[in-house]
């Protein structure tokens, strides 16, 4: 596996002032030529993602984006492996203490905030770096002498495929964004130029932002499950994101005493996100009615013990 400075270079790219965006893409292309694996990935993406973007109706594109991602799973996995082996500030990622990495991100953030000419897109790229940073932290913590967060992920039944998809989506959307931006600034040429770049750029950016949001939400949920005192901090996220509510809810259900779960198998229970059982019932209808009768005004998770779902929706 080649391992020359992808991370350090990509970080360097993002540290450049907005007015130097042209330089960013020159660097990107230089880097591209220095690493066959990444060069191939960029080239494939340009051919197979950017063009479909150009010919797909806008309202359909977001839904079909994932279809375009699938063939690149291997490339992105390779890139992620490269990233985890690269040097930042003279150290390999796994040698960097968490607070150093935070400091690095903080420096970038303050630079973005200081610069009144900062373009919104750079803020989004920053969000991307933060999301990726969270992912990399999971990789780092997964090293031999540290707690295995990925085990926790699996223990809490977090869908690792979703996690991969969000990382993949974030990366690909931003790679596409960078390629398109480079094309629009004339520092990179595609074999045939898309003629609607003004439309494509914000669209790809919004897709990247969506994947970032999903990725960050997942990371916050994992973090809260590993550090329970932080569950309170993610309650707004639980309220607005059913996937996160499900992840946290299932984790809390899995931690109920085994004899309780055996004794109440097949029954329906509602718990709050502090892990307190609020209502138990033999049917979902009874449980739902009782919650309404009690006028419960907090979010709760409902589960049928020993089952994967509480009801079916056939329409």
């Amino acid at each position: 596996m080649p391992s020359n400075g992808l991370k350090s270079r990509s970080m360097k790219l993002l540290l450049v002032q907005p007015r130097q965006l042209g330089t960013i893409f020159e660097n990107m292309m230089q880097f591209q030529s220095g690493n066959q694996l990444v060069a191939d990935a960029f080239s494939e993406m340009a051919q197979n993602i950017v063009y479909p973007i150009a010919i797909t109706p806008l309202d359909e594109f977001e839904n079909t984006f994932e279809r375009f991602l699938t063939p690149f799973q291997t490339e992105v996995t390779n890139i992620l492996e490269l990233i985890s082996g690269q040097k930042i500030m003279g150290k390999k990622i796994h040698e960097i203490e968490g607070n150093e990495f935070e400091k690095f991100i903080g420096q970038f953030q303050s630079m973005v905030e200081r610069d009144s000419h900062t373009e919104p897109m750079l803020r989004n790229v920053f969000d991307f770096v933060v999301a990726l940073n969270e992912y990399v932290k999971v990789l780092i913590t997964n090293s031999e002498n540290k707690p295995d967060i990925l085990d926790d992920v699996l223990a809490y039944k977090i869908d690792v495929n979703d996690l991969q998809k969000y990382v993949l989506g974030s990366l690909m959307a931003y790679f596409c964004f960078l390629i398109l931006l480079a094309v629009s600034r004339g520092v990179y040429a595609l074999p045939s130029q898309p003629n609607n770049l003004d439309v494509l750029l914000p669209m790809v950016l919004s897709i990247g932002k969506r994947y970032n949001d999903l990725l960050l939400s997942y990371m916050k949920a994992i973090d809260a499950l590993c550090n329970r005192q932080r569950i309170n901090q993610i309650k707004p996220l639980i309220h607005t994101n059913p996937k996160i509510a499900g992840i946290v809810g299932r984790a809390l259900i899995s931690e109920l005493p085994e004899d309780y779960k055996v004794k109440n198998r097949d029954r329906f229970i509602a718990i709050d996100y502090g892990g307190n059982i609020m209502v138990e019932a033999d049917t979902l209808e009874e449980l739902d009615a009782e919650l309404d009768q009690k006028n419960v005004r907090i979010d709760c998770y409902i589960d049928r013990l020993g089952h994967n779902y509480i009801t079916r929706l056939d329409s």
């Binding site: 059913p242 005004r297 709760c300 409902i302 079916r312 929706l313 329409s315």
Partner: protein, 128 residues
């Protein structure tokens, strides 16, 4: 008795006035779906509407394609239909999912509804 006549072209839609946690909202173009039958859920709304809810119930639900997905729902009230204010607000569980708004049998079964294909109209008799 109040009667509402809606256009019918293979399907009909109506406007609903609902109350979610004391917040009133007008929902337009709610599809009448007699195939939406569930013991609890009566109205399906886009996820964006969940922001009006102060508290939500979440649980895993098995969908038609066999997948289990986490969805959120809340007890709310239907206050009016097509500018007619109902004599009594009707309690209904709203399930928040992607897609267009759909009203199902839980609400419709309270009234008389007639799909008149030849005349391209749907007649809804309320508060009968």
């Amino acid at each position: 008795m109040p009667t509402k006549t809606l256009p019918y072209h293979g399907h009909s839609t109506l406007n609903l006035d609902i109350v979610i946690n004391d917040i009133q909202k007008r929902i337009s173009n709610v599809l009448i779906d007699t195939g939406f039958i569930h013991s609890i859920f009566g109205l399906k709304l886009p996820i964006e509407y969940s922001r009006y809810a102060k508290s939500l119930k979440t649980g895993p639900i098995k969908m038609v394609d066999g997948k289990s997905v986490d969805v959120q729902w809340i007890k709310a009230f239907i206050r009016g239909v097509q500018d007619y204010i109902l004599v009594n607000q009707i309690p209904i569980s709203i399930i928040f999912m992607t897609g267009n708004p759909i009203i199902g049998i839980n609400f419709l079964k309270r009234y008389k509804i007639c799909f008149d294909g030849p005349n391209n109209q749907t007649v809804l008799e309320l508060d009968t």
